[in-house]
Amino acid sequence: MAEGKSHFKELLLVFLGLLVLTGITVYVAKNINFGSLALNITVALAIATLKATLVALYFMHLKWESKLIISFAVISIPFLILAIGIMVWDINNKIGLGNYNLQ
């Protein structure tokens, strides 16, 4: 059951890394403009994804998990992107954001 190995050092490093990334994302959002709102939010989400990956890999033990759980988690990601992407693309493309009143 227990792997017998302590991951404490990794956990501490990940915690510090998450703090640094939080600092970076707040600093970037406050001080740096990448030119467009869309680009700014993309950068913020990229940093968030990096943080989420760290949490999943280390805090949620995905790195040391069995192949079954790892493949389950990894295979889900494209489907998640598909679910969000297709819906947003569909609304954007078919209805036409400019002339359809979503309210």
Binding site: M1, V26, L37, I41, A52, F59, M60, I69, L80, L97
Partner: protein
Amino acid sequence: MSTSTVTNKKLHDGSKWGNPGPMVYDMSKFGMWLFLGTEILLFAMLFTGYAIYYMKMPEDFHNSAKALSTTFGTINTIILIFSSFTVAWAIECIKKNKVKMMNILLVITILCGVAFLVNKYFEYAHEVHIGNLKLANMQWLGGTGRAVAESAVPSMFFFIYFVLTGIHGLHIIIGLGLLTWVLVKGIKGHFHSGWYTPVEIGGLYWHLVDLIWIYLFPLLYLVA
């Protein structure tokens, strides 16, 4: 754990569910990951709503988000990351039979969760005070009539803000309940290096709450 303590006390190993402890451990973890998958789907759909309306009115989102305090958001982010760390640390402790340390870390985690909710309460109180809840409510009701009379514009951003943070807050409350249950069992001495499945599963849930907040934070607080 020494043999004398084992004979004195009933040793909990999860086998009361009809399977050996290690098997219960593996099955529970996979079951929890499946459940977390559905949780992520729930939030994915909410994020989709966010994305659609963000593309429709980026300027509106941009301006509305300015009313939120980044300081509060950042403090809550740090609180959640720290509590996630302490619960992961607690699992490392119980793997080495350090029950007391695990209990202390679980208490710290629970206190962090409560601190998050207290922060959230002050934020909500502020939003209600400056009228953003009313704007969200007007969006919910259709945004006509009174909106025109009071020359206020219903806000889709605040509608999404209250739905997202509200459901996330509900998850915090559920997570706190789970962790309290784990802590009570920990104090009773149910866990040892051979049986800590509830700690691990409760921890997974708490990490999910943190994971979702990691995305909520930039989407709601940093778009300004």
